[in-house]
Every structure is written in C-alpha cells, then in structure tokens.
Amino acid sequence: MRTSFVFSEVVTGLRRNVTMTIAMILTTAISLGLLGGGLLVVRMVDKMQANYAGKLEVAVMLTNDVSTNDKDCASDPCKGLRSELDQTSGVESVVFENRDKGFERFKKIFEAQPELLKLARPEAIPATFRVKLEDPERTDIIKTAFSGKPGVKSVDDQGKFLERFFEGLNGLRDIVLILALVQAFAALLLISNTIQVSAFTRRTEVGIMRLVGATRWYTQLPFLIEAVVAGIIGSIAAVAGLVLAKAFFIDRITRNLTESGIIPPIGYLDILLVSPWLFLVAIMISATTGYVTLRLYVRL
C-alpha cells in the first residue's frame, strides 16, 4: 500500500513537470557523462603508466658517421660506448640497434601511414643503443654521462616525452572534470528548482496530507524519490552516452594510436567499471539536494 501510493505520486509528479524533469535529466546526464569521461581518462593514464613502466628506455643515438660505417658496433667509438654503458651502475640491459633494424622498426610503427613511409629514408635513422634502466626514473644518469661524447649524436629520454604526454592527458582530465563540476552545479540548481515547483503544484495535496496527519516522510518522500529517479535516469543516459561516444567517435579518432600501441584502447569494460560511480554520484547528489531543498525552502 505505502509503496504503491508513494510511487504513483512520484509518477504523477514527474509527469506534471515534464519539461522541468527533462531539463533535470539532461543536465544530470551531461554532468555525469563528463564525469565518466574524466574517470575514463584517469583509467587510461593508469593503464598507460603500467604499460610503459617496464618498457621505458633511454635511447643513445649515434652520429651519422658511426651509423653508416659501423653496422655491427665492432670498432670504437661504438664499441667503447657499449662497454661503458654496460658498466654504468643502474643499467639493466643495453641493446644495439643499427640503422637497418631501426628503419624496420620505424616502418612497423608507422605502418598505418604509408605516405609518411614513402618520404622516409634509412639515412635519417641513426644507429641507437637502447638502454633499459633498473629504475626508469633515473634517466638523468645516462643523459649527463653520455651527452656530447664522441660518436654520440643525442641522448633521447622517452620518459620525458611520456611525462609531457601524461601532462597533456591530465590536463584534458582536469578540463573535463571542471566542466562536469560546472554542469553538476547547474544540475543541482535544477533539481532544487524542480522540487520547489513540484511542491508548489501539489500544495493542495500536501496541505491535505498534513491536515489528516501524514508524517513528514510520507509528504516528502515522493519529492525526494522524484529527484532520485530523475538522477538515476540521468546516469543511465550518461552511461548510454559514453557507450555511444566510444562506439561512434572515440574509437574512430584514436584508432591509429591504439593500434600502434601508443595509448591503450577504452573498452566497454572500462565504461562498465566507471558506471557504478556515476550511479552512486547521481543518487547521492539528487538525494542530498532534494533533502536540503525540502528542509530549507519548502514548508511541508
């Protein structure tokens, strides 16, 4: 009895303010969608960090002269550099990659862009020592020790590049989360407003309820549930939005990057794992806003 009564009240309430309800659901959905997007970026960065942690290398690139003449690293300065690298403390392994191998690798990475490959010449690729460190953070040891040595063209620290890339991703995450916050604020005001309007349109009913001795829970619960239901619908829409965005948009623009393994793809599993948080946030925000509104602005 009780529940069926409360729910029929909720349905009439939502129906009566259709436009407000839709606005409330849409703002909630957009806010939660952005929040979900932010959380997905966070997951992506975590995954990338885990992916790259074991693979980070310092590339010691050799001069053109060495690259052309010493294909097997058989003579100095290449030979000397190799043994010096091997003896440096903190170095886990050193792999020599001559110009041909380097070009092979280059071709593989840029498989997807044939026009780029057409332009590339093996002469542009230097022979390289790929140095793996025990602690990937300590790249500066190699950099300071080997930059400028005879035969060394440059020391390239992948970590630094990656750091900048992560910075970019984190910036993206922050922007998305700030937008989510702004939208959440708008959603909050809309929820509060909708409840007030809803309470006003039903003031006769509520007046009678109070008069015949309905408890406060009985008079207020329909309004509260109304807000929470709208929140839940909003979060369902947000999750649907994320799935659609992945299927039709994100997958397409990130295909090259994910196929070449630079960034991990966003899977449906990621969205599935993020969505409970969206539901939780939706329920918490709508319930608290509803409760506070009823307490402060609506005399029931």
Binding site: M1, R2, F5, T204, E205, G207, I208, M209, R210, L211, V212, G213, A214, T215, R216, Y218, T219
Partner: protein, 229 residues
Amino acid sequence: MIRLEHVSKVYKTSTRPALDDVSVEMDKGEFVFLIGPSGSGKSTFLRLLLREEVPTRGRVYVSNFDVAKMSRRRVPRLRQSIGCVFQDFRLLPSKTVAENVAFALEVIGKPKNTIVKVVPEVLQLVGLDGKADRFPTELSGGEQQRVAIARAFVNRPLVLIADEPTGNLDPDTSQDIMLLLERINRTGTTVIMATHDHSIVDSMRRRVVELSFGKVVRDDARGVYGVGR
C-alpha cells in the same frame, strides 16, 4: 477532551493579540459553535488545536496531547485524531469522490483492505452512496462539502473541526450539512464549528462560545447567535 488554559497568541506582525488569555473547556461529544466577527480569533483558536500555530502563552490540551509542548514528530498523531472541514471544501479535482476520501487514509499508511471496507461505509453515512466515482466538479456545493466531511470523518476522529462549513452554501443545503454534522456528533465525536451564520446557531440551540478581539465574551450552554441580530 479539549482544554485551553490562559492561552494568548500574538503574531509577530501584529501588536494586538489574536487571542488574549482564553480559557475554555469542551467535553467529549459536545457540539460547540465558535462565533464572532472576522478577526476575533476564531481561526487562531482552531489552528492552535491543530498545532498549525503554537500559543505565545498558556497551554492547549486535546485528548491526551499537550499540544503546545509536544514534539514535532508527534504532531501527525494529533492531526490523525482531528478531522477538518473548510468553507472551500479543499477536494482534489483529479480524484473521484471515493479516491478523495481514500486519500486521507492512504497518506497515513492504512492498509488497502481497510480502505476498501471503510470508504463506502462513510460515503453512505454522508449520503453519497452511488456517487463514489464522480469527480468533485460534477457535484453540487453541498455534495462537495459532504465529500469533505466524509474525508474528515473516515478515520473516526475524536474531534471534528468545521471552519465555516456552510459559508459557500445556500440555506437549504446548509441545513442538510448541519443535520449531517449533528449525526456525526451523535456518534460521540466532538464537533467545533466556527460560523457567521446566525440562523443556524439559533436553530440548533447548542453551546455557543463567542470571541471578540481575542477574548471569550460569552459561553452559553444553549445559546443563540446574538441579541438584537
């Protein structure tokens, strides 16, 4: 049953008290007219009983409730033992007669089988059997007031408060409503009716409490509306 002890009520926006040191007692099963001109304090009196207002001074008792002192959480219990009828009926236009009456029980959490049983009974008592499925707009004023009375009485309250229940009705219809209120009174329910209608007061010959400027100026056991009117 109902007892007011030295009750005063001063509204913040007014310098003159709406009720000024009022002490009245009403017994179980009494029928009491509350009369007096507009602004004499009738509405404040009734609102105090319902705890729509809290007195500035003095104490209010309804049945076992210490109305002025009770916690907010117990207010619904008090209101469940008081039925209310108003001049403007206050029915829900989107609900049928039966639904309007059932609403009062639904919102206090009565079980469905009780509602199904009790609502037709009370509709018969107020003479509306056969009109259960009509909407308020399809009824005459007198019939609408009967629905309101049915709703106020369906939970068998100890007290029925009627605030000018005949104010919108013609004399004949008013007489019918008075007969109905009398019938309800005979079931043991205390009826307190605020009114301006002297012909009704005169014809009923019941207890009359007259208020003027917030004071009780008359309390007759078998009164008329007023001398010289």
